[in-house]
């Protein structure tokens, strides 16, 4: 686990019931350098640094996993749907091509 980046898990709608299908989006502040761009001042190639894989795990069960390549935008957003199935927590783990690995958790509390 390396230095934490700013990341966020958003669930829509905010209030949800058990068994409801909700929209989950994960955002992370990441440069997503392709390895083809240049620094405007120094004219040196910016080395490639992009997210390799993302995993959504809910109560120990994998919901979605993704293989990511370089052509995603800077500060990427990943949005999918998820079925709420009882109390617990959602963990999103992502890995970098340079070996950086981080995770973000959010408590799931269905109401009503």
């Amino acid at each position: 686990m390396s230095k934490a980046r700013k990341s966020l898990i958003k669930i829509k709608p905010k209030r949800y019931k058990d068994g409801e299908i909700v929209k989950v989006s994960f955002m992370v502040m990441h440069p997503m350098a392709t390895g083809m761009g240049r620094d405007k001042k120094t004219k040196k190639i910016i080395p490639a640094k992009y997210i390799n894989s993302v995993k959504f795990v809910y109560n120990g069960k994998e919901i979605t996993h993704m293989t990511v390549w370089e052509s995603l935008s800077v500060n990427p957003v990943f949005t999918t749907y998820m079925k709420i199935n009882g109390k617990g927590k959602l963990t999103v783990t992502y890995t970098d091509n340079t070996g950086e690995m981080n995770e973000k958790t959010k408590k799931i509390k269905p109401r009503g």
Binding site: M36, A48, T64, W69, S71, L72, T80, Y81, M82, K83
Partner: protein, 155 residues
């Protein structure tokens, strides 16, 4: 040294002097991406030789004209019940002209409840964005849309 030989050597010297600066330029030229992949090879690598079918079930939502190629929102939704026996296995988002045709591969499970994925991608120029969907019964569906890019966003 004969006159003929002299001209031959002169020729090789001229070639070398012409090539060397070109090579030093090559070090300064646009570098090739680490993962270079053609659109056709990318589709073949995903489907394993099968031909994907065009379908109305797959809905690809992108802007027709993107002012900034660095941020192009893409939404793919598939009409599927998402039960244990009939669900969407994977959604692949591909582009036509970037050095790497593959953008993202999303592997879904029935626990998702709804087959939909959205993200933002970079496009180097005007090209087609394609969504390739794999169903649980092994079928492949495809949908594509061209996106006009006014300012390229790669690099």
């Amino acid at each position: 040294m004969q006159r003929r030989d002299f001209f031959k050597k002169l020729g090789t010297v001229a070639v070398v002097t012409a090539v060397v600066p070109a090579m030093s330029f090559a070090g300064n030229a646009k570098p090739v991406g680490p993962n270079k992949m053609d659109f056709k090879t990318a589709v073949n690598a995903i489907t394993g030789g099968k031909t994907p079918q065009k379908s109305n079930k797959v809905k690809l939502k992108t802007p027709e004209i993107a002012e900034n190629g660095a941020v192009v929102p893409v939404t793919v939704s598939v009409d599927s019940p998402m039960t244990d026996t009939d669900y969407v296995k994977a959604i692949h988002i591909l582009d036509g002209k970037n050095s790497n045709a593959r953008c993202i591969d999303v592997f879904l499970t029935p626990a998702n409840g709804k087959a939909m994925f959205s993200t933002r991608i970079k496009l180097g120029g005007t090209q087609d964005v394609t969504a390739l969907v794999e169903l649980s019964n092994g079928e492949f569906l495809i949908a594509s849309q061209s996106v006009k890019v006014t300012i390229g966003g790669c690099g």
